[in-house]
């Protein structure tokens, strides 16, 4: 086999190999929109975050507007401190309520943002003060049973 045919085939091979790497990074791994997107950070403290994980979506009206970037425990208040990265272009009012929600009964846990009527907007690094914790199913069932027992006794 002469040199130019060889070069051609190796060229084709390497090109489609690199195309496959790019496909995996961009189309499957979604490199462009997840890690390099510019944005700003918001904080929120929750009593209980349930099954919230890093990289969980932050949604407003069902639209993904950001991702959870860091979760840590506040050593003073014993609350979970969640740092969210919100995509550039989305702004939220200062009286926004952040709540931890679950899509479906077994679905992924995400943070829902509900904007209020305030005229001032949350800036980079601001803390969302109004939060609603995750609904823990076990606690709910326990409470239900307890209420049932209490009403049963009073009768």
């Amino acid at each position: 086999m002469n040199r130019s045919t060889l070069d051609l085939w190796v060229g084709i091979f390497v090109t489609i190999g690199i195309a496959a790497v790019l496909f995996l990074s961009l189309r499957v791994g979604n490199l462009l929109t997840t890690s390099n997107a510019p944005g700003y950070r918001l904080e929120a403290a929750f009593d209980n975050i349930g099954g919230l994980k890093l990289r969980a979506p932050v949604k407003a009206a069902g639209v993904v507007v950001g991702r959870v970037e860091r979760i840590q425990l506040d050593p003073k208040t014993y609350q979970a401190l969640v740092t969210m990265k919100i995509d550039k272009g989305y702004e939220f009012t200062r009286d926004t309520i952040a709540s931890i929600l679950t899509s479906g009964l077994l679905g992924e846990v995400y943070i829902g943002l509900d904007s209020g009527g305030d005229t001032q907007m949350l800036a980079d690094g601001a803390r969302i003060t109004k939060t609603q914790s995750a609904v823990v199913l076990e606690k709910l069932i326990g409470q239900f049973l307890f209420d049932k027992a209490a009403t049963g006794n009073s009768k």
């Binding site: 086999m1 091979f13 390497v14 189309r27 979604n30």
Partner: protein
């Protein structure tokens, strides 16, 4: 009498251990000397290109076809299970994660070992048997630089590309079956996949895996070929050893790498 049997058994274990340690030591020294002799292989780049052609381009067909079929079967089987829990939209996640993290590097590694690794060993072993390597040494041409290093680097260049190609074709095959045949929504298929697959954790780690496997397969293939007994039987033994040893090495390395790369991902 009893003591003799015990001593015989212990002696066998001892000899086996010493032999494998010696072989490992030889392989490591061989690896270093291949690295030392690599610059000439890159200076005469057409030697390496030729090997990329033989180990990469000629493996294209088998890798492309098996990638496509693995993806399609994965989609069919995955749909069967996911459908029971009403989670058929997660098919994209399942297929992409299993292909990018595990099946891409491992299956293409096994294919590469049997398609290209065995050929490398047989070629070098036959060169040794027909005394071509000795002839080169007589002409002051270093066979490590002229024969071994180009094959080694050709394998290392080809294998990660083949692995990426395998995963890509697998995802495409799953798309064909999942979206076109079964009728899952295309938006949900790609969207869920993109939300779940992380570039650094999944794609980069999968690529690192395939690069490590490439190193292991190429080294085993050239080592076995270069150290083959210079007989017809020796070459055939060496070829078999290459396929068996590199397959086992791939599986063992894969377990170790997976423990380091993906342990605790779900609990973050």
């Amino acid at each position: 009498m009893r003591l003799d049997t015990v001593a015989w058994g212990l002696r066998r274990i001892g000899r086996g251990t010493l032999n494998s340690v010696t072989r490992l030591g030889f392989a490591s020294r061989f690896f270093v000397s291949v690295l030392v002799h690599s610059p000439p292989a890159f200076r005469r780049i057409n030697l390496t290109l030729r090997e990329v052609y033989f180990s990469g381009v000629l493996s294209l067909v088998i890798v492309v076809v098996s990638g496509l079929f693995v993806g399609m079967v994965l989609a069919l089987q995955g749909y069967e299970v996911l459908n029971r829990y009403g989670a058929d939209e997660s098919l994209g996640i399942m297929v992409a994660l299993s292909l990018v993290r595990e099946l891409g590097p491992v299956v293409s590694g096994l294919l590469f070992a049997s398609r290209a690794g065995s050929a490398m060993t047989a070629e070098i072993g036959l060169m040794k048997t027909t005394e071509q390597l000795s002839a080169m040494e007589m002409m002051a041409v270093d066979p490590l630089a002229r024969v071994v290093a180009p094959r080694f680097w050709g394998g290392i260049i080809s294998m990660p590309l083949l692995s990426a190609l395998f995963a890509t074709l697998g995802v495409f095959g799953a798309y064909l079956v999942g979206v076109k045949l079964i009728g899952i929504d295309a938006g949900a298929f790609w969207g869920n996949m993109q939300a779940a697959v992380d570039f650094r954790v999944d794609v980069v780690n999968g690529f690192i895996k395939s690069a490590v496997f490439a190193l292991a397969i190429s080294l085993i293939a050239v080592f076995e070929g270069y150290n083959a007994q210079p007989t017809a039987e020796g070459v055939s033994t060496a070829t078999t050893r290459t396929v068996v040893a590199s397959s086992l090495t791939i599986l063992a390395l894969d377990f170790v790498l997976t423990v380091f790369m993906f342990r605790g991902i779900g609990s973050r």
